[in-house]
């Protein structure tokens, strides 16, 4: 059956949280009522990436892009747009600069600079329907590999493409495959690392939710090239929707003979099983991940031996991350040369970033390597929220660093980010403004590391705890200048002596913030002052009696009734009762409340 029009509704976790499921069911009901259900098809797609504006509804073929759609808008969209052919302009996206509605997604700044390779199908296809994936060249790369190429030729193609691991390390993927292919064993394994643990990164989840077949296909291709017939996906139990869609994809691929015995009649067989993670950041490290899959505590072990030699159940194992796999089918379809033509000298292709924090367009973006931070933050991200001033951007999650204004024109790639004291990591990119305290941010990351350190090696287990304690002292105004030296020295010791990648990179957020925001540390220590106004122990709230008009808004919203005052006369804050939650500042329309 062919449809004249398609209504694509985002079915990613973010949009589902704001009732996209209800929108879909109401659209289906209403189309039926209007007898249009044979002509217009509603499809729940994966993430469009523009999460800030969700739920997103896109009408095809004209690419009309409706944002922040509510269930009550469904009838109007169908009556006006579908039946009468008139766009519902109040739901169209408006660029923050000129407030004019933009008619379709091709003209939205957010998408203009993006190049979507790993996310190519997210937001385009129904992830629960294998035929939609096949219609977009799905499984043709697998067919090509199995019928036209030798395993070594596949490896050579991946090597030639310059693809590097997207999980954080940036190790050349083709080389990794080659290592695993060289070992002779009765059984080998392909593992997909879907244990996305970096707080603030959600690209792997979005790919699995939006395009699960690309992972299934890539794992089978990897299996063929290294000589493995078994694949395992290690996925966080906290991702129920991704797990569900992956299960459906595996089942459909089996039904279509694209997984199982004798695929395409070539004699090559491959199966995929799912293994659940149970919430441990360290399991992103491949040896820890393998131990976890074996049913143990997810503690890392020293390399060598590398998993390529002795991994899961002591057999040669190749571990790649979700985004890395998502690139593989495209590389084989379009050729290594095409892929290598995108990006920079040392980093080919694109990178997906989860853009979040104090930025106008929170969302999932994919840009060619070499795009600058400025382009990402100001052109794609639409600049800083509420017209505030940019302060820092954190990349690489708990292993990365905070970069400043001076780094904005740095082209983003693996090597450049390390050079400026951060790293690519899995692609979290958190933007901070002038109201964010960098000491508190460093402490936030250390808190995460202390909680997630597996405890096996002393530098990480004990050292990070000490770093956290020193930072806490500083945020309470009890730090000394000597503490700053101690932070630095201890950080270097941990980096040099920790067992695995988690510990070796854990001091990065501290070192980069001390380097880039030294004055802010000094202000906390010498002046007992938090310049950003975040560190509670150093703050008191005041209402300026000149500016306060007595609108009572702050008093009505104060959770502890700490604000008193007559209507139409200046209010005041009882510092005993005040819990410094900041609600009053957010509510005050006259900038009458300040932090000292």
């Amino acid at each position: 059956m062919s449809y004249n029009m398609h209504i694509l509704v985002c079915g990613g976790t973010g949009c589902q949280a704001s009732s996209s499921k209800t929108i879909i069911s109401r659209m289906n009901e209403y189309l039926k009522e209007k007898n249009l259900d044979k002509e217009v098809q509603v499809i729940a797609t994966g993430c469009f990436g523009f999460c800030e504006q969700g739920p997103i509804v896109k009408i095809m073929p004209d690419n009309t892009f409706y944002t922040q759609v509510k269930p009550d808008d469904t009838e109007e969209i169908i009556n006006e747009h579908i039946i009468k052919g008139r766009k519902v302009s109040r739901l169209l996206y408006k660029e923050p600069e000129h407030h004019n509605p933009v008619s379709d997604s091709k003209h939205i700044e957010f998408y203009k600079k993006q190049l979507r390779i790993a996310l190519r199908n997210c937001g385009f296809i129904d992830p629960e329907n294998i035929e939609e994936y096949i219609a977009r060249e799905g499984y043709t790369a697998l067919a090509k590999c199995l019928t036209e190429m030798t395993p070594q030729e596949v490896i050579n193609e991946i090597k030639l493409s310059g693809l590097r691991g997207r999980g954080g390390g940036g190790f050349p993927t083709g080389l990794k495959w080659e290592f695993a292919s060289k070992y002779v064993a009765d059984q080998k394994f392909v593992v997909c690392n879907a244990d996305e643990g970096d707080p603030g990164a959600f690209m792997d989840r979005s790919i699995m939710e939006g395009d699960p077949h690309s992972i299934v296909e890539a794992m089978a291709i990897c299996g063929y090239s290294i000589g493995a017939n078994k694949g395992l996906v290690y996925i966080r139990a906290e991702y129920p929707l991704a797990i569900k869609r992956l299960r459906i994809a595996i089942k459909q691929a089996e039904d279509y003979g694209l997984l199982g015995e004798n695929i395409f009649g070539t004699g090559f067989g491959f199966t995929i099983e799912i293994r659940y993670g149970a919430g441990a950041f360290v399991c992103g490290e491949e040896t820890a991940l393998i131990h976890s899959m074996e049913g143990h505590r997810g503690e890392p072990t020293t390399k060598p031996p590398f998993p390529a030699e002795s991994g899961y159940l002591n057999k040669p194992t190749n571990v790649n991350n979700v985004e890395t796999f998502a690139n593989v089918p495209v590389i084989l379809n379009k050729g290594a040369k095409w892929f290598a033509s995108i990006g920079t000298e040392g980093s080919k292709g694109t990178k997906v970033f989860a853009l979040a924090g104090k930025i106008n367009n929170v969302g999932l973006i994919e840009v060619p390597m070499g795009t600058t931070l400025r382009e990402v933050i100001y052109e794609i991200g639409g600049g800083i929220k509420n017209g505030k001033k940019f302060k820092a951007v954190q990349t690489g999650g708990p292993s990365g660093g905070c970069l400043t204004e001076t780094h904005l024109d740095t082209p983003i790639d693996f090597d450049n980010l390390i050079k400026v004291g951060s790293m690519m990591g899995s692609g979290g990119m958190i933007v901070m403004d002038e109201s964010d305290c960098m000491v508190a941010v460093a402490k936030f990351y250390l808190d995460f590391i202390v909680e997630e350190s597996c405890g096996k090696c002393t530098p990480c287990r004990v050292g990070n705890k000490r770093l956290y304690e020193i930072l806490s002292k500083i945020t309470e105004g009890k730090g000394t200048m000597e503490d700053l030296d101690n932070l630095r020295n201890l950080s270097h010791v941990i980096k040099d002596t920790a067992l695995c990648g988690l510990g070796q990179t854990s001091p990065n957020p501290i070192l980069s913030t001390i380097d880039n925001f030294y004055d802010e540390f000094v202000a906390h220590i010498r002046d007992h002052r938090c310049p950003a106004g975040k560190c509670k122990a150093l703050l008191t709230y005041h209402i300026d009696s000149q500016l306060c008009i007595g609108c009572t808004l702050c008093a009505r919203n104060c959770p502890t009734n700490a604000i008193a005052g007559e209507r139409k006369s200046p209010h005041f804050i009882d510092t005993e009762k005040c819990i410094k939650c900041g609600t009053c500042i957010d509510k005050c329309k006259f900038n009458a409340i300040s932090i000292r």
Binding site: G54, G200, P559
Partner: protein, 158 residues
């Protein structure tokens, strides 16, 4: 910890789960996932049963349960509250939200109210960063929460 008695039918189901996984040590984490679904949490007794069935020391089971944050040894409240403390939510003020829940419910992270109604946890990134800061109560998601919203959210479930 007070002695608890597990209902026999659930114990039988637990034995069946272990058997279904071939009583294999390598299946420990998968078994614990199902056991937690069955009981809601993993008390000592459940860990002892699993250890016995798999022929491994209880210390090994406890080691795994205590290692992973997804496993809990305390029963959750009727309405488990999770405040997202991922970086995106953190910079948009989730700490203030968490403080407000702690204050109003008078419990700390990882605790349950005495009446068993609410338990409070923080979690790392649900991936709805566009809605930051995010709070989950059971399956229900609240986005762009302010400290002033907290009381209203709690009231919804009282």
């Amino acid at each position: 910890m007070p002695e608890i008695k597990l209902p026999q039918n659930k114990v039988d189901q637990l034995l069946a789960i272990c058997k279904e996984h071939g009583n294999q040590e390598g299946e420990l984490i998968n078994i614990l996932h199902k056991a937690q679904q069955l009981f809601g949490y993993l008390p000592d007794k459940v860990q002892c049963i699993v250890a016995k069935e798999l022929g491994i020391p209880v210390s090994k089971v406890y080691g795994v349960v205590s290692f992973y944050s997804f496993f809990t040894m305390k029963p959750k409240g009727e309405h488990p509250i999770s405040v997202c403390m991922g970086t995106a939510c953190y910079v948009r003020g989730s700490e203030r939200i968490l403080d407000e829940f702690k204050r109003l419910l008078n419990i700390n992270i990882g605790e349950t109210t005495p009446d068993g109604k609410f338990s409070l946890d923080s979690l790392r990134c649900v991936g709805a960063c566009g809605l930051a800061p995010v709070v989950l109560v059971g399956e229900k998601v609240y986005g762009r929460v302010t400290p002033a919203d907290v009381e209203r959210i709690i009231k919804e479930f009282e």
